[in-house]
């Protein structure tokens, strides 16, 4: 069977390619190097047994052990209001609501007033969210409805306020709008997944009537894959960079053989139009904050010439933040791209039409995400859509400007290479660091930093937006500030934050996170001066800090040592430090950076 053949050569994250029994069989694989166990609570008004089993297997394949608690069939309101049950005592990391269109249909059939029905249903869901948030304080993943196979008014159905179809449609629409403005709720787009596979097969009347299956379980591998994507991004696993091959990936043909005027690109020649569409897709991704890199076996000048001179190129040289065209092997080039961008391998996707290159990268850099691309380039985009690689739960101004900021960084490197004294080079950049207390405007960005940063992250606490909100509401306990960096080439926005707590006369630094984009710019020292100042203004005599080891934060394992802290305890996982305020202030040296200190303004 072709499907079965695909599996061994594809990566563990491609769980949507497994069929139901293959996925379920993975429940029994030994869970090696699985870290902390996640606890997930599922509420559903349908059978959630297969769903839970599949989600568990899927997460296991992706390296996460999960304990899943099913709240019982069609029991949501009761379980949420009940004060003394198993759920109340659990502290889940995620709460999933999987309510199905079939139950919705049943309630709809009992109403005489469809317009009001939608409003009532919406306020019911709103209450549910509020209750769940209050009770569990965990992110909510809410499945929208699979829009039903309802043609009771033919083509007029969608336009007809009384139709079941429009009712469900309006609810889905409102839920998406709410979720983008509600902290801690994400929508799982069930309707999209159903459409992708075809609702005629997705919805199975027999299995609903006999076993209360909301969808044919054969599609569960695909559905739980996108649920696992939403879970993973909350834990810092998200794609930040797409590494693109050129020949037969961004254009058709071989540049070295066919020449710049012979490659297939543009609507004038055969399959050239499909590459225009592929490029347009990546251009859009770049606009939304994805970094694009090139890794191609070509001569650099020739490859760059296509970007600057070919009339049908949608992607321009400036869209690419890291460009490697040479005849070295691709693994080496990807290592260089990673070093240049300072991101983790597991946040990189590598796209290449050549099975040889894909296999090599998978073998040597197993963390890099390498989708099996289909033979025909016309199918690339469909394949990427099925893989759901670009999961996110927000879109901010930082995202829009990300590529520009990386390109400015490359210019800085050029200046740096041409200037002999690094310090005087830094001075020439006219850096200004703005230190400001955490406020409601900076929360979304701080949340994003907490989510995305893995390397310069001392304790790797993944704050939820509502946690940051409640920290903000306790200014007498928590002292938090953000650091924003500007220089003459660009405005980085907020690139670091501190969450600290005053305990007796000690300032306890709970979190210290910084974007790796600004490494070696004295931002650490600048941030530390903000910490000492905070300590001073709240009458502290000591500063306490700790380093909690993860697979990815070795970069900062000696940060506190460098800053003059004294090691007070150490084991494999944690190093604890402290320093007296006096000593910390004495040790401070002048910095090549202007500090705009606004910490006293609150």
């Amino acid at each position: 069977m072709p499907k079965a053949d695909l599996v061994p050569s594809s990566s563990p994250w491609e769980t949507h390619k497994l069929n139901l029994r293959e996925l379920l069989a993975k429940r029994s694989i030994p869970g090696e190097r699985l870290g902390e166990e996640l606890c997930i609570v599922i509420f559903g008004d349908c059978s959630t047994e297969h769903y839970s089993a599949c989600l568990k297997a899927c997460l296991k394949l992706r390296g996460i052990k999960a304990q899943i608690i099913e709240a019982g069939f069609n029991n949501t309101e009761l379980e949420l209001s009940n004060e003394s049950n198993e759920l109340t005592n659990s502290s889940p990391d995620f709460v999933i609501f999987f309510n199905c269109i079939q139950q919705f249909e049943e309630k709809y059939s009992l109403t005489s007033d469809p317009t009001n029905f939608v409003d009532e249903k919406l306020s019911e869901i709103r209450t549910l969210w509020d209750q769940a948030k209050a009770k569990f304080k965990a992110p909510i993943l809410y499945h929208n409805y699979c829009l039903p196979l309802d043609r009771s008014f033919g083509n007029y159905t969608l336009g007809c306020t009384a139709s079941l179809y429009q009712c469900a449609y309006r609810i889905n629409h409102e839920l998406s709008k709410w979720a983008t403005s509600t902290i801690g709720v994400s929508i799982i787009d069930t309707d999209f997944q159903a459409s992708l596979h075809g609702k005629v097969n997705w919805l199975d009347e027999r299995l609903w009537c006999e076993a209360k299956q909301a969808l044919s379980p054969q599609y569960l591998p695909s559905l739980v894959k996108v649920v696992s994507d939403a879970i993973l991004i909350e834990n810092g696993f998200l794609v930040k960079c797409v590494v693109l091959d050129l020949d037969n990936t961004l254009w058709g043909g071989i540049l070295a053989d066919d020449g710049i005027d012979g490659i297939e690109l543009g609507n004038l020649n055969g399959s050239g139009e499909c590459f225009v569409r592929i490029q347009r897709f990546f251009k859009n991704l770049k606009e939304r904050g994805m970094l694009l890199a090139v890794c191609s076996k070509n001569q650099l000048e020739h490859a760059e010439e296509v970007f600057s001179d070919h009339p049908d190129m949608v992607l321009k040289r400036d869209d690419i933040v890291s460009f490697f065209a040479n005849y070295e092997d691709k693994v080496q080039n990807i290592i260089k791209i990673r070093d240049e961008l300072n991101i983790g391998y597991d946040s990189m996707v590598f796209l290449d039409d050549s099975p040889f290159e894909r296999d090599m990268v998978r073998n040597f850099l197993p963390e890099v995400i390498v989708p099996e691309l289909p033979e025909d380039p016309s199918d690339y985009l469909k394949c990427l859509c099925e893989c759901n690689l670009f999961e996110t739960n927000q879109f901010s101004d930082e995202d829009k400007n990300r590529a520009r900021s990386y390109i400015a960084e490359n210019k800085r490197k050029e200046i740096r290479n041409s200037s002999i004294d690094y310090r005087s080079y830094l001075k020439s950049l006219d850096m200004v660091a703005e230190l400001k207390p955490l406020d409601s405007f900076s929360i979304p960005r701080v949340y994003q930093l907490a989510q995305r940063s893995n390397q310069f992250n001392l304790s790797t606490i993944r704050y939820q937006e509502n946690e940051l909100q409640s920290i903000l509401e306790k200014p007498e306990t928590f002292k938090c500030f953000t650091v924003r960096l500007k220089d003459k080439l660009s405005d980085y926005g907020i690139i670091a934050f501190i969450v600290a707590e005053v305990v007796n006369r000690t300032l306890n630094v709970r979190s210290w996170v910084m974007s790796c984009r600004v490494l070696n710019r004295f931002v650490e020292e600048t941030t530390f001066s903000g910490i000492t100042e905070t300590a001073e203004s709240f009458g502290c005599e000591e500063i306490y800090g700790c380093y909690i080891r993860t697979k990815k934060n070795d970069l900062v394992s000696r940060l506190y040592d460098k800053l003059g802290f004294q090691l007070i305890s150490e084991n494999d996982a944690v190093k604890e430090y402290k320093v007296s305020l006096k000593k910390a202030i004495q040790a401070m040296a002048p910095l090549p950076i202007t500090i705009s200190n606004q910490l006293q303004n609150d």
């Binding site: 069929n19 139901l20 029994r21 293959e22 379920l24 069989a25 029994s28 047994e49 297969h50 089993a53 027999r206 299995l207 009537c209 006999e210 076993a211 299956q213 044919s216 379980p217 054969q218």
Partner: protein, 81 residues
């Protein structure tokens, strides 16, 4: 090999995967009690997997009527083609 034997062989592989027992042998008189893990969850997985593998959909009536594996195989043989 008759069609029925051929399908039985294929079905056996699916049984083995679904119940996670690589040595499992199926026989006509076999019923749910003969297999330790044959619960409602695995039953649905089994039916859906057979449907996927043989590219057909059983009717509710057919599924309800099976008294043992033999009858299941009879339906399969009748319906494939």
């Amino acid at each position: 090999m008759t069609k029925r034997e051929e399908y039985k062989q294929k079905a056996e592989e699916i049984f083995q995967e679904v119940f996670d027992q690589p040595e499992l042998k199926i026989f006509d008189e076999m019923v749910a009690q003969d297999v330790p893990d044959w619960d409602s969850l695995n039953h649905i997985t089994l039916v859906v997997s057979l449907e996927e593998e043989f590219n057909l959909k059983f009717t509710t009536k057919e599924v309800m009527s099976w008294k043992n594996v033999g009858e299941m195989l009879d339906t399969l043989t009748e319906r494939v083609n």
